[in-house]
Amino acid sequence: MLIKLTGGKVYDPANGVDGEVRDIFIENGRIVSPEPNAKVDQEYPLHGRVIMAGGIDPHSHIGGGKMTIARMLLPEDHIGNEVARTELTRAGVGHAVPSTMTTGYRYAEMGYTAAFEPAMLPANARQAHMEMGDTSIIDKGAFVMLGSDDYFLRQLAGKADFSAIKDYIAWTMHAAQAIAVKVVNPGGISAFKFNQRKLDLDEKHVYYGVTPRDIIVTLARGLHELGVVHPLHIHGCNLGIPGGYETTLDTIKGAEGLPIHLTHIQFHSYGTEGDLKFSSAAAPIAEAVNANKNVSCDVGQVMFGQTCTASGDSMRQFVNTRSADPKKWVVMDIECDAGCGVVPFKYRDKSFVNALQWAIGLELFLLVNDPWRLFLTTDHPNGGPFTWYPHLIRLLMDKEFRRDRMQTINQDALKYSTLASLDREYSLYEIAIMTRAGPARSLGLVDRGHLGVGAWADITVYDDNPDREAMFTTPELLFKNGELIVRNGKIIKVVNGGTHVARPSYDPSIEKSLKGYFEDYHTIRMDNFRLSDDEIVNGGRGSLIIQPTRARAA
């Protein structure tokens, strides 16, 4: 069936298309260029509408044990936020930590077609994929966490051959069905288990004797040489600490030009000026990002209201438990592999610290020049639930609106930020880069995040409403793989999304060493640790989308 979207204004930055009126044709799920006289089976007249590829969230905690801990921890998050089943959709709940099916519906209703779980522990990968499998409509993918796991740390401490380290990285990506690798508080999650309470970039882990810098450089170089498209996804040391921006600058320098992605950089951009020794260091961070083309980042914008922080960073989250609101929390040490900390949190617009966090995030958005290297995230749900995105987009596109909002927050906070002096307004083209084309390119998603011929027809159609929050809240149409899924912000068809993975090559003989290691120390056998493709496909309820990697170097 040939479908024609007629006369919309197309924003397709991957192909350099900036608001041109164009027709788009869809056949068999993909965007096509039909013969001139081809019969159109269905036409959607979209004159005056804005057309973009489906949104792609490159960092959103949607699946895995810590999210289900958060869901169970917070019944009060769900009560009053229940969603009834319909003939099409399943029941669900939630505001900050929505249930799985509801998460998928809300992303689709907001015009998104993919979201990536950034903190999948190898030990918890099976559950993370089961939860993502129950996340309706959207495509998923996950970044597997390395850097506080015993096997890697003993390789590093034992000065293992670098190709063996690369084999282990690649093996783990296969075993956990991951598309990328994340490091969280490098070595720090492990150090916390040895009762270290902080681990600076050049501080040694008491047991392994390695530093976060060693870990970052090894993983970043390993991924680069393995040909994995998404660079090492780094949640750095010293998250949330005033003065932490210096660690962030050192991390950028320490990458030695290797590609790196700094995630939720807002939480890593805090200075120590002023009476409260807490200030914005967004300007030097943005300057460093602008100057270092090997660096990409996402913001992790803070939004006011109730949320729940959920992180692999057990070391830092244990400290944050002092601010838990409501006063309950979970910290876990996990499998000599990783950890997690789940701490509910309420960001208050009248709080100096929270208002400044909000301002720092916006400053970063407005000071980093290149939207291809800066992605729009709230680090869902850590800075706030993803359903804030339309509001955040308006804050970036509409300086009057931004100024109005600035009037309502703690005014002292603005003294320690440059936000009031920034007039930049994002264009629709830049928003399309930050929410589609950029994440797709960074993650190496072939045929996604753009509207060129051959791309999968993941397409969002918006009313060109000057109220950009309203516009991005309720897309008129959403197509997933060419099927109409959402009309006027309501789901009219439910499909199952796929799972993006990447599979760099490794020497299979590494399994000889791993097999014995699992038998000696673990409580699961290597063969059972590894997820099979069938588990993702699950009788047709899911599917695998294998993204290419570059050739492995050595």
Binding site: P75, D77, K193, E335, I524
Partner: protein, 427 residues
């Protein structure tokens, strides 16, 4: 996964995961015997009973009379359709089974609860009110130098826990790991499995289970610098409690182990909370963690899947179409006692021992063959056991690791998830 043909033409399996308790040991070797399956290696009393149970394949029944599977499914769908408030209970199944129950309960407008929820709620209530610091099996196995077994007969619930987690000789962190101290805080707890080179001191502090909370609260107060007078705390000599606190503070990684099913007294959640709050406080200066066990009969998988799909850990009603959560009102045991609900669907696929509660409301029983309900169910559909008759996945007791289960034999027993999906389709 490894498998090799034996001389009898039946498969010999290695690295088999065992679904018969919450620990999900996955190092079993299973082969054929003349009677069916035989646990060849790394078995325990539960796995041997489960895997070596003889295969019987009875017919589905309606009102005690044999019928075809399709007729039984149609009858079950009719009962659910006519029910005003069905209760979907038992839920002793794998992840796919719970997924199917959730879909059916939503469509049928019913309540979901697990057979062992009363025990699980001793933990869930603490999670929902104050939280905790927890560890997992591999972490405890390699790292702990002090284990405190709090009021729980761990060996009875999990026959290989001590062998695999406490008495293991190898540790990631030393070729010559230090000996471990094991403290049994409670009366009459089986200590027989605590033996071997890794075990140093084994202490027994005989306190009644419902006074363990007092001991932990006192240790917490002492740790904060409070003065406690009186010669005994929770019935223990004060010096013994002070000594235990000093051991906790001196441990490099202490682990308190409890199993909620063992804490069978009123308000046992407050004991779990006392343990958890003590552990939190000790973590201000040194490292310590809780390790909750139990979770047999698929209880962990039921709580997890219900948690991610509905947001709530069981005891959810879909009567209004929305998930309505009330951990008291929608407790299956209370509802059956109060005669709320007009239909019980009971799912027990691991052992014939998990009989449905004796109730006079009509029942649909999806059960392991040889299950013995007190009354004849309206509909009985014998189902296979995950990990024997069909493949599956279960979530382990630490709520982190999930294990794949395998199909080990040919049988005509259907998988519960398939039956439930067909019932849902017929509604």
């Amino acid at each position: 996964m490894e498998s090799e043909k034996s001389s009898h033409g039946a498969n010999h399996y290695k690295n088999v995961a065992c679904p018969f308790c919450g620990i999900l040991c996955d190092d079993l070797e299973i082969g054929p015997s003349s009677e069916g399956l035989k646990v060849l290696k790394n078995g325990c009393v539960k796995s041997v009973a489960g895997f070596e149970r003889k295969l019987v394949e009875p017919s589905p029944q309606v009102d005690g009379k044999d019928v075809s599977l399709d007729e039984a499914i149609a009858a079950a769908a009719r009962l659910i359709r006519e029910s005003r408030l069905p209760i979907f209970g038992g839920l002793a199944t794998d992840v796919e089974g719970v997924r199917a129950i959730m879909a059916l309960a939503e469509k049928g407008g019913g309540i979901v609860d697990h057979a062992l929820s009363d025990a699980q709620y001793r933990n869930f209530k603490v999670l929902q009110t104050s939280g905790w610091v927890m560890t997992t099996l591999t972490e405890a196995r390699n790292r702990a130098d002090l284990f405190i077994i709090a009021g729980s007969d761990v060996h009875k619930l999990h026959p290989r826990f001590f062998e695999r987690i406490v008495c293991n000789e190898a540790s990631m962190f030393s070729d010559n790991p230090p000996k471990r101290t094991v403290v049994f805080l409670g009366e009459g707890l089986d200590q027989s499995a605590v033996k071997g080179n890794r075990i140093g001191e084994v202490l027994t502090l005989p306190v009644k289970a419902d006074r363990i909370g007092e001991v932990l609260d006192a240790m917490r107060a002492l740790n904060k610098g409070a003065t406690i007078t009186g010669d005994t705390i929770g019935g223990l000599p004060r010096a013994a409690v002070e000594d235990l606190l000093e051991r906790c503070k001196a441990a490099s990684y202490g682990v308190v182990v409890w199993a909620p099913p063992s804490l069978g007294f009123a308000n046992a959640d407050l004991t779990v909370q006392a343990v958890s709050e003590f552990v939190k406080d000790i973590n201000l200066t040194s490292r310590f963690a809780g390790l909750a066990l139990g979770g047999n009969e698929g209880a962990v998988s039921a709580g997890a899947v219900c948690g991610w799909q509905s947001g709530f850990p069981l005891r959810v009603s879909f009567a209004s179409g929305k998930p309505d959560y009330d951990s008291e009102r929608y407790a299956m045991s209370r509802m059956l006692y109060a005669k709320e609900g007009d239909l019980l669907l009971w799912l027990a696929s691991f052992t014939p021992d998990l009989s449905p509660p004796d109730t006079d409301i009509p029942m649909i029983l999806l059960g392991t063959p040889s299950i013995k309900p007190a009354r004849t169910p309206k509909v009985y559909i014998p189902v296979g056991t995950p990990g024997i008759d069909h493949a599956g996945i279960m979530v382990r007791v630490d709520n982190v690791v999930s294990l794949p289960l395998r199909k080990l034999r040919q049988s005509t027993l259907p998988c519960a998830a398939d039956v439930l999906e067909k019932i849902e389709a017929a509604l």
